[in-house]
Assembly symmetry: C2
């Protein structure tokens, strides 16, 4: 795989974001020619500091994936696109469903049309989400589980994923999707819970404030960001991935209460409050979720390597050093 | 049910179209206050002649469901909305995916947001499609079958359907969806195959030209339009339908070759040619499809009453009389 990415021309949409910037770091190590596209919309995941130290080894282009013209130019000479730009907040998708639709549906279709017309040889790996499954009927959830999204974001991401599968099947634009579960690690958004609630927990913890755990009995799985990146690289390099969607996953599932206790223990201090769900969040909550990632293991050879304890330690260590940059 | 619709204020989007206009006729008989909204886009299903004879018993408003302002006004005092407006052509959705997205995704979201804000007590029945299932893995297809659409239209209709389910579940806008299979009958589009290939077959037959059957071995099911209308009325009147999507279906499945032969026999003459699929159609074809409609039978008490032979006879008889209006 190392050889696959050497001198490879790579585009990452959402390249200044959490996963995008970590992926950029790995690709720089592997010797890729890395182009990052990000809109830096303040409510989303992009942050210039996320590429501190590699600024001179990547090219950064500030533009929005809804901007058809810039995308048309930027996509042209690329071998691989990691398509990570997206609106991720479930609550925001309910408050402004049209912005979510423009980014997670229309822009995705537009990116794929651009590839079809100007760079049909490109390989695209799309960042999808376990959110499209909605409330699981059976656990762990594998890819044969019905998609029954419970919020606007889930519906639009479902459409966005399927555009990729469709363009692979109909137009031979090689594309596949990874359905990410809770991904955690350095450079995730911690300002608020728009990307992941764990971000906000860590911020509160480091600021010495109690954080809120809603319900607490939900069981969830977590992927450390480096493992997620392995998934993206493997999917990009594998032609067997084309036209398919793969769950990523993690260690055995943990209740959110146990997760909160682990964080407090690793931090050697801190406090959280278990509360009932606010009603507007409860109605779009998916309850227990953890993924079966057998398909990714079998087809991509992917498995998570970093356990939850270590993932939390590394994440906390990063924000202990850099929190002021992010809040 | 007759009592349910008496004096009921009903809105039909796509009201001058095939199913919409037949539904309007039934509702006029039942004594409803009927408002029809249609854009009359020439490539779509709407046709003024479809309401010949009931013009003075319905109100017609020409506007597009993408027009947020007109929809906001029109929806306000309605008890029930039959939401039938849509782009239906699979090929057109591939050639102009953005128009399909605007109508089948964005406008649907916008209609539901309008209901939420200005008429949350409304009941909405959405016309979905078996197209969202894609190529069936098992037959007959029931509602537990994965949604794996094979064209842009299928993806966007899938999103459109799920917005309805979501607004039901989250905002209590009572909504449900009917997944229609091939629906046939008087007032369907016969000018071309944009709505249904059967329309074009009938046109050719009546014009004394051979029609083309692609492949011919695909097995499909057919619903006569009056039966589909029963489904819409039952779904509107039933609170057990809320938040759910139901397959409609028909008689035992028929191969397209057998269907062609039935048509020629009923017409007492005519000719068709069996051809290979054009490549651009083949790649988005779903192969065999027929629906299991047990759920609709159990929850709505729906079953098809008109067999395929009778459905074709009635349809041919209508176009034998009115073809010039439609071509």
């Amino acid at each position: 795989m190392d050889r696959f990415f050497r001198n490879r021309k790579v585009l990452i949409t959402g390249g200044l974001g959490f996963i995008g910037s970590n992926l950029a770091r790995r690709l720089v190590e592997l010797g890729s020619d890395v182009l990052l596209v990000d809109s830096l919309i303040p409510e989303y995941g992009g942050h210039p500091f996320n590429i501190a130290g590699i600024e001179n080894q990547v090219r950064v282009n500030i533009s929005d994936v809804r901007d058809v013209h810039s995308m048309r130019y930027l996509v042209q000479d690329r071998d691989v696109m990691f398509n990570l730009a997206g609106q991720t907040s479930h609550m925001d998708s309910m408050e402004d469903p049209f912005a979510d639709l423009e980014i997670n549906c229309r822009a995705q279709l537009s990116i794929l049309e651009t590839c079809r017309r100007y760079n049909p040889g490109i390989k695209v790996v799309f960042a999808s989400t376990r959110q499209i499954y909605g409330r699981p009927e059976t656990l762990p959830v594998d890819e044969t589980h019905l998609l029954r999204p419970v919020d606007v974001n889930g519906i639009n991401k479902m459409a966005g994923e399927w555009y990729h599968i469709l363009y692979n099947n109909v137009y031979d634009i090689r594309a596949c999707a990874l359905r990410l579960t809770n991904t955690i690690g350095p450079r995730m958004r911690v300002k608020d819970a728009r990307q992941t609630f764990v971000g906000l927990w860590i911020r509160c913890l480091l600021e010495g404030r109690p954080f809120e755990v809603w319900d607490g009995d939900q069981r969830r799985d977590f992927t450390y960001v480096d493992d997620a990146i392995d998934g993206f690289l493997l999917a990009a390099a594998s032609d067997s991935a084309n036209g398919r969607a793969f769950n990523l996953g993690g260690d055995a599932p943990t209740t959110l209460r146990d997760l909160a206790e682990m964080l407090v223990a690793i931090n050697k201090g801190g406090r959280f409050e278990v509360r009932a769900f606010p009603p507007d969040r409860k109605r779009i909550d998916i309850g227990d979720f953890y993924a079966n990632f057998t398909l990714a293991r079998e087809v991509l050879g992917w498995r998570p390597k970093v356990g939850l304890q270590e993932a939390l330690e590394k994440t906390l260590a990063y924000y202990r050093e850099h929190l002021p940059r992010y809040v």
